[in-house]
Amino acid sequence: MDVADLVRAGDPVRREMKLRQWLPAPALHMLALGAGLFAALELRGGAFLAQKPRVEIPAHRFEQMVTEFRADTGRGPTREEWAQMLDLLVDDEILFQYALALGLHENSAAQSRLAQIAEFVEANPHGHEPSPAELAGAAMELGLHEGDLVVRRILVDSARRLIRGVVLLQQPTPELVEQYYAAHAADFTSPARIRLSQVAINGFVHSDSAARAERLLARIQAQKLGLDAALALADETPAPVHLGLQNQQSLAGEFGSDFAATVMTLRPGGGFTVVPSDYGHHLVWIHEYEAARVPPLEAVRDAVTGALLQKLADDWLRLRLRELRGEFDIVLPPGVS
C-alpha cells in the first residue's frame, strides 16, 4: 500500500486529512490552487461541486476518434480500445472544465489565443478598437474556447501538470519513504555475487574448444586433479583466471551473458563445470556464493524518494481524475457506454 492508496481508503473526513498532509504549501502553488478552489466553491455559490455541472461528450468528437482509428488501422476498435478512447475523451473534457473552473483561461497565452480566434469571427464587436481582453471575453461568451484545439490543449495540459505538480513539490515523510521501500525493495536490491576461478580453452585458436574442454574435464576427474593442477593445464587467454565476488552483470560484461547466466546457477563444492564464453570454453570452479541482499534505506534514500514521488504524482493524477469524475454529471453520446 502506498500513500495514494491510503488517500483513497478511509472516510471522507479522514481522506481530507490525508489530503491535507499531502497538500501543504509551497506557498505560491497552493495559493493559486486555493484561489481557484475558492473561486469555484464560493464565487459560484458552490455550484461547481454542489450542483454537479453537466459535461457532455459530443458525439461528433467520439465519432471523429473512431474514424481516425479506422483510417489508421482499417478496422473498428475492440471493446478495450473503445473503452480506452472514451476514457481519454472524458478525462480530457474533465480536465478542460477543471482548468476553466480554476480560471486558467485567464492567463496571457490563453487570452491571446482567445482574442485571436475572436477576431476570426467578429470584425469589431465593440464599435471601437477592442482590447485583447475584450476580444478574449467575446470569444468566451461565444463559446469559441469549447471547440478550439489550441485553447483546449493549453488548458488540459495546464490542469494535468498542476495536479501532478502538487505531489512533485512535496518532500515525503520518512515513514512514507520507508513504506515505499519496503514494498519496492526488489527495485533496489543488490544482486547476488559469486567468486570463481576458471581453466580456459582458447576459442580464438581452437574451433573445437567445447570438445577440448570436455576432454580436459574428463582428464581432471580421472586424475583427481585439484584446482592448482588444473590451472596448469589451461590455455592462455585474455580472460581473468580468478575473479573476486562479482554479480551477473559484471560477469556478462567480461565473459558474455550466457556464461554469466550459467555461472550464477552454480554453487561451491560442485567441482568443475564446463561453461562456454566469449573467449572459448572454461572449466569453472566456484569458491563462494553470496545471495542477493537488500541495502539499508540510507544507502538508496534519494533514489527511493524520487521513485516514490513519481509514482505518487501518477497516482494522484489518476485519483484526482476519478474524484473529478464524481463532481461532474458526465453525459456520454447516445449509444455509447
Binding site: E68, A109, S190, V205, D278
Partner: protein, 787 residues
C-alpha cells in the same frame, strides 16, 4: 612518446604483469583477493569512491552512449515526446538500466497507455510497434545530452517547479509544447508533422543557426533573469538525474555522465558537439551555440541577428583566431575557450564531490556538416574547419579527442554510392552503408516532413563530410608541416543513437523499432527521410572499471570504438614486434606490453625496425547471434608528394561481397545462412606496404555476416510487403493502395518500403552490421623529433 604516455605504459605493464603473476599463482583459494586488487589505477582519480569488484587492469569493454535526447530537448518536445510523461533524463536512465519502459507518443501525438514495468506486456499501438519499449540489454554507462541552447525556454515551457506558468503559455512554448496538435486525419493530413518541422526550423534559425550575433529566443530575451533561473532548473535536473543514476557502490552497475549538446546549426549545417563532463563538478551554466557567436550580441532586443558575415574582433574569447578575419560562420574556438575557462580552470564550476572539472567535446554527423560546395568552390565551410595557425591546430587536437562515426542519421565514416558506382574520395565499396541522401540537417532524415534530399553525385559532397577523409587531411597537415607538424584531426571514434525519444542504448534490427523522432517518424517507412534513419549503435570504451574516472580517461585516450548496433568486442593493438602466435596466448597482455591500443600513437620506430605489426581480435554479439565475416584494417597515408591515399586490407575472415550482401541471406529467416561466419576472429598483421617516411593511420573495421535491415523486417511485419524482392514489393504495395481502408493506410505507412540501393532514397534491405575502432597513428621519426 610523451612522458605521460611512457609512465602510463610502465604502470600498465606493471599492473598487467601483476595480474598475470596472480593468475598463475597457486594457492588454495586464489580468487580471494581478486587479481588487480591492489587497484591503484593508472590514471588520475577525481572521485573518492571504492574501486569496482570487476576492476581489471587489462580493461573491459563497457557499452554506453555519448548522445541521447529526451523530452527536455526542444526538438523532441515539438514532436510530442513528453517530459511530463516520463520522457526525461531520469526516464532515459531507467530505460538504459532496463528498470522501466519509456513513453513515446503515438503517431497522433497522444501519449501511450503506460505499462508499469518491462515485465508487463507491451501495449499495442496502431499498426506498429509498442510505444512503450524496453531496452533489450542493460547499458553499462551513458550520458543524456539534451540541447542546452533552449534549457531556459524548456524550463519555462515545462513549468519546472511550477514557477513559470505564465511563460509556459508563451508563443515559443506553444510551439515547443506542440500547440499545433491536430488529429492525425484531417483536411490537412500530416499537418502535425509539417508544423513540427516548421517549429524546428523556426527555433533553430532563431538562435542555433545565426552566425555572428547569436541570441536566445524572445521569451528569454524579454525575461533574461527569469530565463537564467529556468535554465538552471533544467541544468540542475540534468545533473540530479545523472547523480541518481550513478552507482557509486563497488557493484558499479551503471555510470552516468553529466552532459549536454551544443546544437550549432549555421544555415542548417550540422556543427553539433556533445559536451561530456568527467564527474559531478560541471560548469554552472552550459556553454553552447550562443557562445560560438563571432561577436557577442550585447542587446538582443535591439540588434537583429546577423546571419551573413562578421569580422573577428580582437578579443581573448576568440583566441587563437586572428583578429580581422572575415568569416561567414560561427566559431568553435570561443566555445572551447569558455569551457576551458569555466570548467578546467575552475572559474564557474558547481560544487560537488569530485576534485575538479574536466570535459571533452564530441562532434557528430559530419555527414550533415560538410559545408556547401558549388562549382568546385567551398561556399560554406565544413564543421571540421581548417585551423588558422599552429595554436589553433593544437586547440582542435586537445579539445576534440573523439568524433561520432555513426548514429541514427547515418554513417559518417565514408561514402560510396552504388547508384553512381563512385565514392567521395574513396573506392571502398563497403562504404555503401547507411549513407544519407541529404547534405544538411535541414533536409536530413526525419527533420523535413518529406525531406531526404536528392541523390547527388558523390563528388558533390565535401571530402570533410566523412571522417576517413578528415583523418587523411590531418596526416597531410602533419606531413606537410603546415602547423609545425601537428595533426589537428587525430580523433578516435564512438557511435551513438542521437535518438530524441529517451531510448538510451537500444539499437535493434527488428520490426519493433519505434523511430527516433516522436510523431515525425512514428511510421518510419512512410517518408524518404525517415526510412534512411538507422537504429544507431553503442559507444564502447576499454576501461579498467565502470566508473566515471575510468571511462572518461578511456574516452580521452581514445581507447574506444563504435558499432552499428551489435555489442561486438573488438581489440586493436599496434607495435613493432608482436609475435605471430599472439592469438594463441593472452594477446591482450601482449598487445599492451609491446605497443599501444586503439587511439594511440605507435611507439617511436627504432632504427632498422621493419614494418609495424598489429594484433586485432573480435568477438561476436552472442545474444543477437550474427556471426562475424571479417576484420579489415584500413590504412590511410600521405606519399612523398603530399598526396593522401587509403587501402582496405581484409586481415582475417572472408572478404565478402560488399555490393551484394543479400546473397548471404536466407530470405525465409532474414538472417545470414547458418554455415557462414565465425564467433571469434583474431590475427597478427604486418603492413606489407609500409614506408617509414610516410605518415599513416590504421583502424579496424569488423563486419558481421549480412542481416535484414530493421526497415525490411518492419515492412514485412507491419505493412506485409517484402523489400527483399523489389518487383514483388512494388506489386504488393500497389495492391494495398487499391485496397480497402486498412490496406490503403498500410500502403501509406509503408510508402518507401520498396526502396533499395538503386533508388532514391538509398536504402539497403540487407546490411552488414559493423564496428569501427579508433585509429592508431604512425609519424616518421624525423617529424616527431622535429616536434
Amino acid at each position: 612518446m610523451s612522458s605521460t604516455r611512457r609512465a602510463w605504459g610502465f604502470v600498465t605493464r606493471l599492473a598487467t604483469l601483476g595480474a598475470l603473476a596472480c593468475a598463475t599463482m597457486s594457492d588454495a583459494d586464489p580468487a580471494k583477493p581478486a587479481p588487480g586488487v591492489a587497484r591503484k589505477p593508472p590514471y588520475e582519480l577525481t572521485e573518492n569512491r571504492p574501486r569496482c569488484n570487476h576492476y581489471n587492469p587489462q580493461r573491459q569493454a563497457f557499452f554506453g552512449t555519448t548522445h541521447l535526447h529526451t523530452g527536455l530537448s526542444f526538438d523532441a518536445s515539438i514532436r510530442f515526446v513528453d517530459y511530463a510523461n516520463g520522457n526525461n533524463p531520469r526516464g532515459a536512465y531507467q530505460f538504459a538500466k532496463q528498470k522501466a519502459p519509456i513513453n513515446i507518443p503515438e503517431p497522433s501525438g497522444l501519449q501511450p497507455k503506460p505499462r508499469g514495468s518491462c515485465q508487463d506486456p507491451a501495449t499495442p499501438s496502431l499498426d506498429g510497434p509498442s510505444r512503450t519499449p524496453c531496452v533489450d540489454e542493460p547499458l553499462d554507462w551513458g550520458a543524456v545530452t539534451d540541447h542546452s541552447e533552449h534549457f531556459g525556454v524548456m524550463g519555462f515551457c515545462k513549468n519546472l517547479g511550477g514557477k513559470y506558468l505564465s511563460e509556459s503559455l508563451s508563443m515559443e512554448c506553444r510551439m515547443l509544447n506542440g500547440f499545433f496538435y491536430e488529429p492525425l486525419k484531417t483536411l490537412n493530413p500530416g499537418f502535425g508533422k509539417t508544423m513540427a518541422s516548421n517549429a524546428f526550423t523556426q527555433l533553430t534559425l532563431t538562435n542555433l543557426g545565426a552566425i555572428s550575433q547569436n541570441t536566445n529566443l524572445p521569451v528569454c530575451n524579454n525575461h533574461p533573469e527569469l530565463c537564467a533561473k529556468a535554465e538552471m532548473e533544467v541544468w540542475s535536473e540534468v545533473q540530479a538525474a545523472a547523480e541518481e543514476a550513478y552507482d557509486r557502490s563497488e557493484e558499479c552497475s551503471f555510470t552516468s555522465f553529466v552532459a549536454y549538446e551544443n546544437a550549432s546549426t549555421p544555415l542548417l549545417n550540422n556543427w553539433h558537439r556533445n559536451v561530456i563532463f568527467r564527474n559531478d563538478r560541471v560548469v554552472k551554466t552550459p556553454v553552447n551555440a550562443l557562445d560560438m557567436a563571432v561577436v557577442v550580441n550585447k542587446d538582443p532586443l535591439k540588434d537583429p541577428v546577423d546571419t551573413l558575415l562578421a569580422v573577428v574582433p580582437d578579443e581573448p574569447r576568440v583566441w587563437p583566431v586572428p583578429p580581422g578575419t572575415k568569416v561567414n560562420h560561427p566559431l568553435p574556438q570561443p566555445f572551447w575557450n569558455k569551457l576551458e575557462e569555466d570548467c578546467t580552470k575552475g572559474k564557474n564550476v558547481t560544487p560537488g564531490l569530485a576534485t575538479r572539472c574536466d570535459f571533452i567535446t564530441i562532434p557528430h554527423n559530419s555527414n550533415l556538416g560538410g559545408g556547401v560546395i558549388a562549382d568546385g568552390k567551398t561556399i560554406f565551410p565544413p564543421m571540421f574547419l581548417d585551423p588558422y595557425n599552429t595554436a589553433d591546430a593544437k586547440r582542435h587536437l586537445e579539445m576534440e579527442p573523439l568524433v561520432e562515426i555513426y548514429q541514427d542519421k547515418g554513417a559518417s565514416e565514408c561514402r560510396y554510392d552504388p547508384r553512381y558506382l563512385a565514392g567521395t574520395n574513396t573506392i571502398d565499396e563497403f562504404c555503401a552503408f547507411e549513407i544519407l541522401d541529404s547534405k544538411s540537417l535541414g533536409s536530413a532524415s526525419g527533420v523535413g516532413s518529406g525531406g531526404g534530399g536528392a541523390a547527388a553525385p558523390p563528388d558533390t559532397w565535401a571530402d570533410r563530410a566523412y571522417v576517413r577523409n578528415v583523418w587523411k587531411d590531418g596526416i597531410q597537415y602533419a606531413a606537410k608541416n603546415t602547423f609545425d607538424g601537428i595533426n589537428p584531426f587525430k580523433m578516435g571514434v564512438v557511435s551513438a543513437s542521437d535518438s530524441h525519444t529517451g531510448v538510451m542504448g537500444w539499437h535493434p534490427e527488428t520490426d519493433q523499432w519505434p523511430g527516433h523522432l516522436g510523431i515525425d517518424d512514428a511510421f518510419p517507412m512512410a517518408d524518404s527521410s525517415s526510412i534512411q534513419n538507422s537504429t544507431g549503435g553503442p559507444s564502447v570504451v576499454w576501461a579498467e572499471e565502470n566508473t566515471r574516472d575510468s571511462i572518461f580517461e578511456a574516452l580521452k585516450r581514445k581507447e574506444t570504438y563504435g558499432t552499428s548496433g551489435p555489442r561486438m568486442k573488438v581489440r586493436f593493438f599496434g607495435g613493432w614486434n608482436y609475435p605471430a602466435d599472439a592469438c594463441s596466448k593472452d594477446h591482450v597482455a601482449i598487445g599492451y606490453q609491446g605497443g599501444v591500443p586503439m587511439g594511440g600513437d605507435l611507439p617511436t620506430r627504432a632504427s632498422g625496425a621493419g614494418a609495424p605489426t598489429f594484433i586485432t581480435s573480435a568477438i561476436w554479439d552472442g545474444k543477437i547471434g550474427t556471426k562475424l565475416e571479417q576484420i579489415q584494417i584500413i590504412k590511410g597515408w600521405v606519399d612523398g608528394k603530399g598526396n593522401s591515399h587509403e587501402r582496405v586490407y581484409t586481415v582475417v575472415g572472408d572478404p565478402g561481397s560488399p555490393l551484394n550482401p543479400q546473397a548471404a541471406i536466407d530470405p525465409s529467416t532474414c538472417k545470414a545462412k547458418p554455415d557462414l561466419g565465425t564467433e571469434r576472429l583474431c590475427t597478427v598483421w604486418k603492413d606489407p606496404d609500409f614506408d617509414p617516411n610516410e605518415h599513416a593511420f590504421y583502424y579496424v573495421r569488423v563486419l558481421e555476416q549480412p542481416v535484414c535491415r530493421y526497415s525490411t523486417l518492419w515492412c514485412r511485419n507491419w505493412i506485409r510487403v517484402d523489400p527483399l524482392d523489389t518487383d514483388t514489393c512494388n506489386s504488393q504495395l500497389a495492391a494495398l493502395q487499391q485496397g480497402n481502408a486498412a490496406e490503403r493506410a498500410r500502403a501509406s505507412h509503408g510508402a518507401k518500403c520498396c526502396s533499395n540501393q538503386t533508388t532514391e532514397p538509398f536504402v539497403q534491405p540487407v546490411i552488414q552490421e559493423r564496428a569501427w575502432t579508433s585509429p592508431i597513428w604512425y609519424e616518421p621519426v624525423t617529424r616527431s623529433a622535429a616536434k
